[in-house]
């Protein structure tokens, strides 16, 4: 049956998805990894390869015959990690290539901007890597869905581990990237650690454009703080961590306590950029290839066989989002965004890594286990940089939909477009 | 009272006294020549008149108003135009466009914007420009890119640009240097004619004595920054001090 009454209703033989990832700029490597995951997902959906997570996914509605019998095709675009460029690229996929769903992105600014666009245009947006609370907080949209975890969840997972390892009597010094993501991240982590008895001695905002953080690190030395929290991501994080290590913070003792550094959001690619500096440093991550559940193993196997190295967390989330979308269409029996939304809202599933997962209806945020990781002391290979310290169970990172850090936005109603 | 009154003007460049105690009065409708050895301060004096330099001491009055402290464009709007020692024209524009700029300045003053009307609708100004070009014998070059003209031509163009403004006082810094003999003679005729027909006062710096003696009503000889003598042309020619300091044996 042909579907009409919504934007870019596909014909009877094929359906086009839009993969919108950074291909230039600082996150180009991350984007490349996301793209690999997407291509793998498409291959699996169309019945190619070893099927990856199709077999471990608890919902067994996908059978390798595409989506609703239509062969999956895809188009790609470059977000350049700029909201404008990302929207232009998404629009071109929607207007020119007839994409029925847009997915991807590797920063929150871009995710929020493209999510807004998809809402207006009447297509589904399956967010890629976006960690800001706002994506499913004040900027949430009915047509947008996030599988990735967020700042609050990072903090909730990380804080107990930090307390366990470093004690409850700590003075934390925060360096925070001076934009929305940085602020929400800092807010979350400060709240979570303070709840456990830590003290936040300072929070200094650093410019996004900063490359050398020495003038922000140096004051930490004599501030009396004994923990440095780097609310930085990407290049900022690599540089600030490198600088912090240079200033000897890792060897420093403050009142007989070993000085510690914490990086709330970790990714393997960033860890690689920071090299040996990450050793022993705690952080959180959405997923890691060393997870031993069936879904993760299946994914690592098919990804690793195809590309020769293990997938990143960004790759994982993108792959999973594609499968989740396809599955929702299949279950709902229609490509209509409203039908897809309905199928995803409140959907409980398992087998995609991270254990049993819920797509919460109120804010379109996935709830699942969060990994706390640590830089590995003796890596055996160039991929073996992080080790999982703890898998924080889902219950511990859940929050109410109207939690103050997420308040202010409205999902609105689903928009199927024209 | 002359149209231009220079009183006690002095100017130093670091340790060098370029001008000191210059007193000069230029009579209306006359042609006043300033001659003197190289480096005597002639161009410096002109610079003080048009606002390019501000003298350290003294006063400069034009038609009873002080010009000191005014910016060059204000001074021009008062009625003083200047031809430079090395030609200053709008090299990127055509000869015709070069001529239009002073005409706009004359008609509209320093500020008015005509942002919408086409230049080619300014019939009267165009006619004026063409007439002037005709007079300096450059009408056939009016579409030429002015930077790619020979230097004599640039000189003539610059002079035409000043003349077309019909200033009350025209300052000429070596206007005929590098001009072919024939054009020099034409220029002399043109300046004479302009002086007679329109009431223009001319102050001219020249090393070409032929030009000076054909045009000047009065001559000031400047040496080392101070006026040496001021007199009628006939008397200057024979003046011994002038012969020694400036003219040499040939004259």
């Amino acid at each position: 049956a042909s579907h009409t009454g919504f934007t870019n209703a596909p014909g009877n033989d094929k359906v086009t998805l839009g993969f919108n990832v950074p291909q230039t700029g600082a996150y180009a490597d991350e984007g490349a990894d996301e793209l690999r995951a997407y291509e793998l997902a498409v291959e699996h959906l169309n019945g190619g390869g070893d099927g990856g997570m199709l077999s471990t996914f608890s919902s067994q509605s996908l059978d390798g015959t595409g989506i609703l019998g239509r062969k999956v095709e895809y188009v790609t675009g470059d977000t350049q990690t700029k909201s404008d460029a990302a929207r232009a690229s998404a629009k071109s996929m929607i207007e020119k290539d007839g994409a029925i769903m847009i997915t991807g992105g590797s920063s929150s600014g871009v995710a929020v901007a493209v999510q807004g666009l998809c809402q207006e245009a009447g297509v589904i947006f399956m967010a890629g890597l976006t960690h800001s609370n706002d994506t499913t907080g004040k900027d949430k949209k009915a047509n947008g869905f996030r599988h990735f975890f967020n700042g609050y969840m990072s903090a909730a997972a990380l804080a107990p581990v930090l307390a366990k390892n470093y004690g409850n009597d700590r003075k934390a010094y925060h360096l925070t990237a001076d934009y929305t993501w940085g602020w929400t991240q800092q807010e979350s982590i400060a709240a979570a650690t303070e709840a456990l008895g830590w003290q936040t001695v300072n929070n200094v905002l650093t410019p996004l454009a900063a490359t050398d953080f020495s003038s922000y690190i140096a004051p930490v030395l004599n501030s009396g703080a004994d923990v440095l929290v780097l609310n930085h991501y990407g290049g900022n994080m690599v540089n600030s961590l490198t600088n912090a290590v240079q200033f000897g913070l890792r060897e420093k003792m403050v009142e007989n306590k070993q000085f510690e550094i914490v990086v709330p959001l970790y990714s393997r690619l960033m860890a690689k950029g920071a090299g040996a500096n990450v050793k022993g440093i705690f952080g959180s991550t959405n997923w890691h290839w060393s997870l031993q559940d069936e879904g993760s193993k299946a994914f690592v196997k098919s990804f690793g066989t195809k590309y020769g190295f293990p997938p990143s967390q960004a790759a994982h989330t993108c792959y999973v989002q594609t499968l989740l979308y396809a599955d929702a269409v299949q279950r709902g029996g229609s490509f209509n965004p409203c039908s897809v939304g309905e199928a995803l809202e409140g959907f409980e599933f398992d087998g995609l890594g991270n254990g049993p997962t819920l797509y919460r209806a109120e804010d379109h945020q996935c709830f699942k286990d969060v990994l706390v990781v640590k830089g590995k002391e003796n890596p055996t290979s160039e991929f073996d940089l992080l080790e999982i310290v703890e898998i924080t169970p889902r219950a511990q990172v859940e929050y109410a939909p109207d939690h103050p850090m997420f308040a202010g936005g409205q999902l609105g109603s689903c928009n199927p477009g024209a | 009272m002359g149209i231009l009154e220079i009183k006690d003007v002095g100017k130093r460049f670091g340790g060098l006294k370029a001008l000191s105690d210059v007193n000069l009065s230029v009579q209306e409708n006359s042609c006043h020549a300033i001659i003197g050895p190289n480096g005597a301060g002639k161009s410096t004096l002109l610079n003080c008149l048009v606002g390019k330099l501000i003298p350290d001491t003294g006063s400069v009055m034009f038609q009873g108003q002080s010009v000191l402290g005014r910016s060059p464009h204000e001074i021009n709007q008062m009625g003083i135009s200047r031809v430079f020692q090395t030609p200053e024209i709008f090299g990127d524009l055509t000869v015709f466009e070069n001529m239009m700029i002073p005409l706009f300045a004359k008609r509209d003053g320093a500020y008015r914007l005509h942002a919408i009307e086409s230049v080619f609708n300014e019939r009267t100004l165009i006619e004026e420009a063409e007439k002037m070009l005709e007079e300096v014998n450059m009408l056939d070059k009016r579409h030429m890119h002015s930077a790619s003209m020979s230097r004599g031509d640039k000189r003539r163009l610059e002079m035409a640009m000043c003349l077309v403004q019909e200033p009350k006082l025209l300052l000429l810094d070596e206007p005929t240097a590098g001009m072919a003999r024939a054009d020099t003679n034409n220029t002399i005729d043109l300046l004479k004619q302009i002086k007679d027909e329109r009431d223009i006062t001319i102050a001219i710096i020249e090393h070409d004595m032929h030009v000076v003696f054909s045009l000047a009503d009065r001559i000031t000889v400047l040496a080392q920054g101070t006026p040496l003598v001021e007199d009628a042309p006939e008397n200057i020619k024979g003046h011994p001090k002038v012969r020694e300091a400036y003219l040499g044996e040939a004259h």
Partner: protein
């Protein structure tokens, strides 16, 4: 015609024809063919072409005529966008007040920044404008977040207090920008055989504005004011001694071009109601500089061509991935196919920057006057072939 001479009228007519027929011209390939990748006739890109065209036309009034190279013009574009989005949030979804406000606010900012920056010339001026723009960017990104919504950019929400209009439509979504009811997002598709052409309301609104802006810029170029600006570029000293004060003229040019930028920013927000800080970053200012030079600084149509070229690469070349390449060359034997794809691969998709960089270099090396020069060379070839015209030896000033 319209107070233009014959040559300018012809140019204007050509530009009118090109913009009005753009949906056809930009979609030369049938939708299902492999070459459809190169089609640029979809609303968003067409809108971008003309909007950046406006931006570049305005920039050219300053740079092309006076030679003052502003490296901070994107600030005005950004300010225009923010103003427009605020207008949508607070007043009405009609684009007219939004665009008017963006032009006015950008003009005011241009007046202030121009007044200060124009106290210096040459590179010192460029760096002053750059500094102002970078400051605006940095502040918009962080400290001014309440006004600009920082990194994410200013967007419409479901609870905007819109005075003339509703916060949300009956079905619970954000209302759409419109021109007295004509929705900017509205479009209708026309299928002709295998071809398909999209006519977008938003595009035509932008196109009309662009034509007006273009017409105005021709008039400015040909006016005494334009002449004065060229004189400023040529010899400020002479201008001073001719009784004209270059300052107000330059400032006027600066403000006009700032307003053009604001107009472009406003239109951008009108087409897509979002305003992000990175629109003000130096790279964005640099982009308009590149557009203008690439097309041909000081020429009338050059900046528009340059804008089109850069936007085309950004949007079309970046989307060609290996998958697309393989589908193009699938007719070849496997080995050769892979080889060809391997050769082309670094230049498309994520390598589109590389191609753009190479194009920049080639154009500036071989076409010193930009793309316009290329056009002229082709035209000259034609003319020479058509009739042996002995008088055409002199190069005409570029159009």
């Amino acid at each position: 015609m319209l107070g233009l001479d014959k040559k300018d009228s012809t140019l204007l007519l050509i530009v009118v024809a090109l913009t009005m027929l753009a949906p056809f011209i930009l979609n030369p390939f049938p939708t299902e063919s492999g070459l459809a990748q190169f089609n640029a006739g979809y609303p968003d890109l067409m809108q971008r072409f003309v909007i950046f065209g406006i931006f570049a036309i305005g920039f050219n009034i300053l740079f092309g005529l006076t030679g003052y190279l502003s490296f901070g013009h994107a600030a005005f574009l950004g300010i225009g966008s923010y103003s427009a989005v605020w207008m949508f949030k607070l007043l009405s979804m009609n684009i007219i007040p939004a665009i008017l406000l963006s032009v006015v606010i950008a003009g005011v900012f241009a007046l202030v920044i121009g007044f200060v920056s124009l106290r210096r010339t040459g590179i010192y001026f460029s760096i002053l404008t750059l500094a102002f723009a970078q400051m605006s960017f940095a502040l918009a990104y962080s400290v001014l977040t309440p006004l600009t919504n920082g990194e994410t950019g200013l967007q419409l929400t479901l609870n905007d207090p819109r005075i003339l209009g509703v916060s949300q439509t009956a079905d619970g979504s954000i209302p759409v920008t419109n021109l007295f009811g004509l929705e900017m997002r509205g479009a209708f598709d026309m299928a002709v055989g295998p071809w398909s052409f999209t006519f977008s309301a938003g595009y035509y609104v932008c196109a009309v504005v662009m034509l007006l802006a273009f017409y105005l810029s021709i008039r400015i170029f040909r006016s005494p004011f334009g002449l004065m600006l060229r004189a400023i570029k040529s010899n400020q000293q002479r201008l001073n001694y001719t009784g004209l004060n270059p300052k107000p003229y330059t400032l006027a040019a600066f403000v006009i071009s700032g307003m053009y930028a604001g107009l472009a920013g406003g239109l951008m927000a009108a087409m897509d109601p979002l305003a992000g800080a990175e629109r003000m970053q130096w790279t964005a200012s640099g982009e308009v500089v590149l557009m203008t030079i690439l097309g041909g600084a000081g020429t009338l149509i050059g900046p528009v061509l340059g804008a089109g070229m850069i936007k085309y690469f950004e949007n079309i070349f970046s989307k060609i991935n290996d998958n697309v390449l393989h589908s193009w060359f699938s007719f070849m034997p496997d080995g050769i196919e892979n080889f060809v794809v391997f050769i082309i691969h670094p230049f498309v998709g994520k390598g589109w920057h590389l191609t753009l960089g190479i194009i920049f270099m080639l154009v500036v090396i071989f076409l010193p006057g930009g793309l316009v020069e290329g056009g002229q060379r082709i035209a000259r070839l034609f003319r020479r072939k058509k009739a042996e015209d002995p008088k055409s030896a002199k190069t005409e000033p570029a159009e």
